[in-house]
Symmetry: D4
Subunit: 208 residues, 8 copies
Amino acid sequence: MTKPYIRLDKNDAAVLLVDHQTGLLSLVRDIDPDKFKNNVLALAAAAKYFNLPTILTTSFEDGPNGPLVPELKELFPDAPYIARPGQINAWDNEDFVKAVKATGKKQLIIAGVVTEVCVTFPTLSALAEDFEVFVVTDASGTFNHLTRDAAWDRMSQAGAQLMTWFGTACELHRDWRNDIEGLGTLFSNHIPDYRNLINSFNQNSQQK
Amino acid sequence: MTKPYIRLDKNDAAVLLVDHQTGLLSLVRDIDPDKFKNNVLALAAAAKYFNLPTILTTSFEDGPNGPLVPELKELFPDAPYIARPGQINAWDNEDFVKAVKATGKKQLIIAGVVTEVCVTFPTLSALAEDFEVFVVTDASGTFNHLTRDAAWDRMSQAGAQLMTWFGTACELHRDWRNDIEGLGTLFSNHIPDYRNLINSFNQNSQQK
Amino acid sequence: MTKPYIRLDKNDAAVLLVDHQTGLLSLVRDIDPDKFKNNVLALAAAAKYFNLPTILTTSFEDGPNGPLVPELKELFPDAPYIARPGQINAWDNEDFVKAVKATGKKQLIIAGVVTEVCVTFPTLSALAEDFEVFVVTDASGTFNHLTRDAAWDRMSQAGAQLMTWFGTACELHRDWRNDIEGLGTLFSNHIPDYRNLINSFNQNSQQK
Amino acid sequence: MTKPYIRLDKNDAAVLLVDHQTGLLSLVRDIDPDKFKNNVLALAAAAKYFNLPTILTTSFEDGPNGPLVPELKELFPDAPYIARPGQINAWDNEDFVKAVKATGKKQLIIAGVVTEVCVTFPTLSALAEDFEVFVVTDASGTFNHLTRDAAWDRMSQAGAQLMTWFGTACELHRDWRNDIEGLGTLFSNHIPDYRNLINSFNQNSQQK
Amino acid sequence: MTKPYIRLDKNDAAVLLVDHQTGLLSLVRDIDPDKFKNNVLALAAAAKYFNLPTILTTSFEDGPNGPLVPELKELFPDAPYIARPGQINAWDNEDFVKAVKATGKKQLIIAGVVTEVCVTFPTLSALAEDFEVFVVTDASGTFNHLTRDAAWDRMSQAGAQLMTWFGTACELHRDWRNDIEGLGTLFSNHIPDYRNLINSFNQNSQQK
Amino acid sequence: MTKPYIRLDKNDAAVLLVDHQTGLLSLVRDIDPDKFKNNVLALAAAAKYFNLPTILTTSFEDGPNGPLVPELKELFPDAPYIARPGQINAWDNEDFVKAVKATGKKQLIIAGVVTEVCVTFPTLSALAEDFEVFVVTDASGTFNHLTRDAAWDRMSQAGAQLMTWFGTACELHRDWRNDIEGLGTLFSNHIPDYRNLINSFNQNSQQK
Amino acid sequence: MTKPYIRLDKNDAAVLLVDHQTGLLSLVRDIDPDKFKNNVLALAAAAKYFNLPTILTTSFEDGPNGPLVPELKELFPDAPYIARPGQINAWDNEDFVKAVKATGKKQLIIAGVVTEVCVTFPTLSALAEDFEVFVVTDASGTFNHLTRDAAWDRMSQAGAQLMTWFGTACELHRDWRNDIEGLGTLFSNHIPDYRNLINSFNQNSQQK
Amino acid sequence: MTKPYIRLDKNDAAVLLVDHQTGLLSLVRDIDPDKFKNNVLALAAAAKYFNLPTILTTSFEDGPNGPLVPELKELFPDAPYIARPGQINAWDNEDFVKAVKATGKKQLIIAGVVTEVCVTFPTLSALAEDFEVFVVTDASGTFNHLTRDAAWDRMSQAGAQLMTWFGTACELHRDWRNDIEGLGTLFSNHIPDYRNLINSFNQNSQQK
């Protein structure tokens, strides 16, 4: 009667980063820019860390929408990169869908700008083709809280699971023992409070 | 187990604008008036742009509720205009339902004032008759956040999809190549941040 | 697949006012006290106006919880009044359930303090016995937004419909022509913005 | 079509307190620290009061995450205490699941830090094994409102019921007559407004 | 070096209510309408209770600004009533200033709509003529918080004292023993929390 | 001991619009973009309406800061326009100061982006040269509320008066009878609530 | 030209706790009750810790205002306790002023309920008699943010210094070496985040 | 009558960074941690960029307060570093004051944690010795908004100027032509929106 527990599996997941472009980012006002930048880079770093196949796509990057955020391009130099010639829903672009399917993964981790369009549309399309979709809500941004709430409702009701970059990383990692330092570094780089905990702990330990 | 992806189709959609009257607008306090005015006119402009059959209706427009916002009347001079003699739920008015059905469309895009009454009631009625309903949440307004949240929950649980004017326009357009300039103008007129992007881009391009 | 449209019917609805007591009201901090007082009295006035069978109940009214708000008692001098000897869920009190069933109504309009207990518990119990439950969210109050959100989610997921006093009154009335003045007075007394519209309109009309 | 009313039963419920550690608590920013401390201790006091089997677990307590909040350890000196060697989802730890199952209870009351990981993961796992899960939302904390909202949606959609510590205590107690003083003391210790009501009432009564 | 303590004195104070008109009230969005209505009526009731000379003034009341709120007119049937023919700053109207000066009072308690114009302008003018001005901030309203903050700063820096209706009433009354019941009734009518305290206390006392 | 009442005088005031550039506008996050755009255009329209000498200035308009908002340029085609080659404080630019002094006005109405730099710096410089400075707070924008509050405090403590575009227009106009229609049009174009009042009033009047 | 730095001196300071009564506390809505209770007790604990002469006073404690919060009475069993027979401004009560002057201190640390009356009035009176007044803003509460802001402005403009309980304790203590454990305990008891730091540190240190 | 315009001069300014320690940072809740970390590092980068003498100080860094944030230490390896043995007000530490005076600068730019203590106390002390103090408000943090507002008021009333890191950098730089690339890099590194503008601009320019 309710959604089953579909658990993220690092062996069966791909990451789709949709339209994080320098122009479009000026539209994002439901998250503070310092935090949003951090969240997007944290998700990207997690994708990299877990070696998840990652697909980049942009919309009209030669116009006002602006180029892909350079940090993303640098982080994934070999990732499929689909500069869509016009399709608003990335899933309407054949190359994009091909790239997704070429990963052979059933679980899709999606984030993008703006939430109710660039994230919601491919999310709904992927669900319709029976992918398991995990929306990284805090690495997706939009005009304001109202538009965010509406978009979340539409996606959740259609079967998507609403995640955060931190929850995504934790669910993929499962056990700290798989690599304590790696995950610790990821968190230290992107969670100031966690970095402070580590720095306090280390100093205290070194004083012994 | 979840709502299927029902996608807006510009060939199968009609727009219902319910009770955007000058008096009733003073009741809207969940959205700032500058933004709300913009959202309503943006939805109307989108309806016009996509040539969607549009139906206007008002409640007691000769009394304190006040006349329909003049801009809407001017934008749709030939649209069916149902000044309801008393029915609170527009769907209880035969002429209104006739007008809706006369469009031959299965998808209804609804916005109005106030959300929990003028929008929710016809939404639930239309769903009960198997229409596919898309509520434009940010072109609908009400007393405060609490009343909005309650109304959204009622509509979503009944099967309506919660949209925004921007998401609606994007889902209808599907591909920028269908008309880049038309959609760009719509966005430039109603999204200041987007207008700024375009203006910056154009100046920079002209400098070449 | 979704909740059907169960529409409030003034011939088949009863109102349950649960624990609006002078002591418990000091716990309500998710709605401003001026507004909350207004909302509760507005719902009560609507119940009176539509002649809906109304049931009052309190919890430990001789102790710190305090007596029922006097205005409610005065408004419904002949209503069943169940001062519960200890049951937290009013539905656990036989007299209360008997009183509810004695109304012969299938639709229950519920409001109370605090939302996650005094409203949620009888709501869930009534749903379990196949009543149709309409929660008047803005005439129900609790400690803060977090507790409200959790309670709403629990009730909505269990099948309750989330209403407001204004939406409730409008859905019960259906058509202004049933009594323009009566409904107008109700709104004028409890919606300052609406009262202003009426006063502006009347002065303007009298100037003719 | 909707979730049934699964009612908390003090004879069939266990409490799981997950990762309330002194370091991790610095990550909690969706609830004010004074209130959050109070909520966690209130839930613990309620668990104690109702003699519910309670299980404590921590993650890496010798590192930056810090030790379990001392008050919890003192309150439950004999409770199963699982210091997980690395599993992020407590349910992935065999000892933890064994301890849960050893209680013989079907209803699990869960709270922890942070909500979208330490609470959500075991909640989803327990639901998958047909436990009835009650999440104590206000004794669980996370980075901000956005992450909270996403976590709540994921858990609710999977079948968990969203509770608060106060609602949990009330649903467990059911009738004040089971022990007026005990419940009153619990509330007086953790709800300042309620304590004030009691103090005002007592002084007034003593003046007689 | 700082403002001296100029204390309100009921024998030396007059009340100026500026432009509380039914149309202009729709512009007030920095205070919720239920609360604002209450605050304005509370200040008026206090003015009445302390028999302070009160002056009413409006701006273009035959046009869109609308008539004076009827309750104010009814409360002060014999008060000077200056319907200004066009002056935006009431102090620019000779009749208004004459009426103010005719009271022979040195202390002016001012409230109105909107704060940065109808309140600020006469406040600054009165200060310039060495009146002692007390602005009743919560019975004055404007477009939003930003405009309010700017207006308060301008008035405070010019020497006005920022008050609330409650502080005004308390400073005028000075000692409960002057009339316990009168002041208690004023508070009970306009502070729901206080009314609850009184009702709880009375019931408890009657039980003796 | 306090600031005197320096009143805006349309015969002695000039308007300085500083750095309202399409790029810099993306930095403004203390006011919603729909509202901010409206406020800036409203101030410009007021400057035009009152025929106040107006000076435009930009910073590095050929780079990322972007060009002046086109609407401003169109509105003031003949205004002095100083594209500063590098000075951050416009007052450090000789041409700008010359243009200001050439107006022969003693009162300066200033707005710009961002508040704590482009507005605050010339404000402090102008005060130091004994100009009377009126900051139009709601036509000035910056990163967030904290930066705004700090900037306002600095300017107010230095002697600037904090205004809004509406207060500025009202103080300049002084008496509606100077031109009812002109001021009414200005307000109707930039205050949706006021436009609604006018439209309601007109319809009602026409029905007579 | 500005306020000099008057520094709190534990040898020259007294504490005045005004009207922290169980009934009046229900009026406080500008601070969350958990936090407010903590702040008041923290200030009291600090007064105790620094052995500052402390004066308690109440208004009508036998009526709806309710008795003094019991914890305060227990903490200061021998403190002057003035149950005022009616004066709203404690400074109007001779016994209170005598008690204040009997302390021989020039610096007064004041907190109370509600801010704009019970705190502001004696603050202004004490300033008028050349006491140095330090208002503990977070141990003082009132109806809402607007009333708080107005009260703060009035007190600050009159020469009071706005403090918090934490700043007060730190300024009184001056040097941790005066008593590390004592101050540490005060902070650990009233600042959950600080308690967590200490607990993390201690565990880490013990592991050495 | 008002504060004069004291303008930051890079040749006469020193920077004091007070108690940005890994433990104390967990107390900061008036600014989001992502943004606060950015602001502190931005101020430090600006101090570096302008070669301002910078002084670091900490309080009890071997205990729970934790070590100085490592990034700050790395950025200023040769700066005076005063680990205070106990003085809460850094100005009470002779070495600190000596270090300040040794810079020979009259303007002090101060930031720290927490605002009402570690920033306010030395600010007031420095003002008392006739330094010109510029508080960098957004690189200073504290428990919540209330404590921040109280601290700002105390400092501003005593003569400090409230700045932000961005305003500080701009006032120090004065003219972009002094070094366009240097300042641009500083902004690009610490203002995501500005970085986006630059990236959009550059791509567009390169397309030429």
